[in-house]
Symmetry: C2
Subunit: 266 residues, 2 copies
């Protein structure tokens, strides 16, 4: 097995002992049609939070102030107090001391660059592995994966690497969209993009439709929400995964990045 | 003015003297609905080619062999002989000795990684600046820009940098799609993605609709094709650009990447 970078190798495949503490809620989207921000996921959020204090990481947005305010209003109904990581004089320490963490959506490249600039990626990963609940939507779900290589975002900035936190050993594609057979657009479909990822990496990809979520509690993984999932693996048929499915076996599935040998003249 | 990387700075902004030789034809797409591969652009390709021998760079695809064969068949009608760069024992030298170069579409991250592995990026840039015509479709159009930061592609692999050839000083977004007002999908529209790029970079972006092309001849830039363009700039209204427009002034427009200061904690 190879990691996307040798330096990030250990981060990519957490071993069983440090996985058992992890509590994750990963959402495809923060806003559902006709509903208020996060309204579609409030029950899940309530269940994932063990505390009434939440640290919000809004660095995927260009305006973390406004984004944090939106979060405050959305979670007021749960009586959750929201602190913005960017409001702290020491965001890295705020992460280490957080009772629960929510990483908001936006642009995954911008999120990764901001956390790298704050030297906070390692602290975030170890805090969550030690048991602090991690909630993430869209880019926040990408960040929980070994890499952000299955983001839909435009690479508007260049973080030093595309390695994420590796809180799960597989990849997630948020906002997954089924191919539109009537489209005349010549750009790649989402399915084709994920297949391109699988040409280069032997790592399962969960296509997370709007309104879907994934709940990891220790070594238990449950997929939920309204619209089901699509599971993509190398050399296997794509698989439809209905809501309520347990996918704990995915934690054992091998993940091999960059299967095209280095130096290969492609 | 700052480049996306100090080391790539000179590549990003070619000066007037080395720009004057450049001959570029950049296409949004290789295939148009109801037409054969490249059929919609054959007149432009014929005009851009000064030779009947063409080096094809198909590294954006996972199968350069098959891709080169498709190119051969597509250009047979122009009596153009196509050699695949991957078929050469020394692709870097083949680039330097080429009479004309066509960089095919696929995945821009894979293309950039392949050219980096072959140590061929610098040779490609200087060959084109010395007068060898460069034709590119989709990922091949992204590569001609200062960076590939306005690609639509998934970052399936991680090239060492996102810097492109800088043959033009602005960015192109191929397969540009106008927002669909009826969509309930919560992922970002293309327009929103380009606006996110402009939050971080003060660089013009040409949204290139399907069937559109851009022809650069020395310091002359003409936009052509069927469907027009959309021009995005920082702090300016988006501008509709009809086919036939001359945009040579864009070569003088300042390009400032990473306008968020390094170390800024958002």
């Amino acid at each position: 097995m190879t990691g996307p970078h040798s330096s990030a190798h250990e981060r990519v495949r957490p071993d069983a002992s440090d996985q058992t503490m992890t509590e994750l809620l990963l959402l495809s989207n923060s806003t559902a049609p006709g509903k208020r921000f996060l309204e579609h996921a409030l029950d899940e959020i309530r269940e994932a939070l063990s505390s009434c204090r939440l640290l919000f990481i809004g660095f995927a947005s260009s305006d973390p102030d406004a984004y944090t305010e939106v979060m405050r209003q959305a979670l007021a109904v749960l009586e959750v107090e929201v602190l913005g990581a960017h409001e702290s004089a020491d965001p890295r320490r705020a992460i280490q001391e957080a009772e629960a963490i929510f990483v908001g959506g936006g642009n995954a490249f911008r999120l990764l660059r901001a956390l790298d600039r704050l030297d906070a990626l390692g602290a975030l990963g170890s805090t969550v592995r030690a048991g602090t609940p991690y909630l993430g939507a869209s880019a926040g779900a990408n960040l929980a994966c070994p890499t952000i290589r299955t983001t839909n975002d435009m690479p508007i900035v260049e973080p030093p690497t595309l390695c994420g936190l590796g809180l799960v050993p597989f990849q997630i594609n948020p906002h997954y969209l089924d191919p539109d057979p009537g489209s005349t657009h010549q750009g790649e479909t989402r399915t084709r993009r994920i297949e391109e990822f699988l040409e280069e990496n032997d790592v399962p990809v969960l296509g997370m439709r709007e309104g879907s979520w994934l709940h990891v509690s220790g070594r238990r993984i449950v997929l939920g929400g309204e619209n089901g999932w699509r599971l993509f693996r190398c050399r296997e048929e794509h698989l439809e995964v209905p809501s309520g499915t347990h996918l704990s076996w995915l934690l054992q599935w091998p993940a091999r990045f960059d299967v095209t040998p280095v130096g290969h003249d492609q």
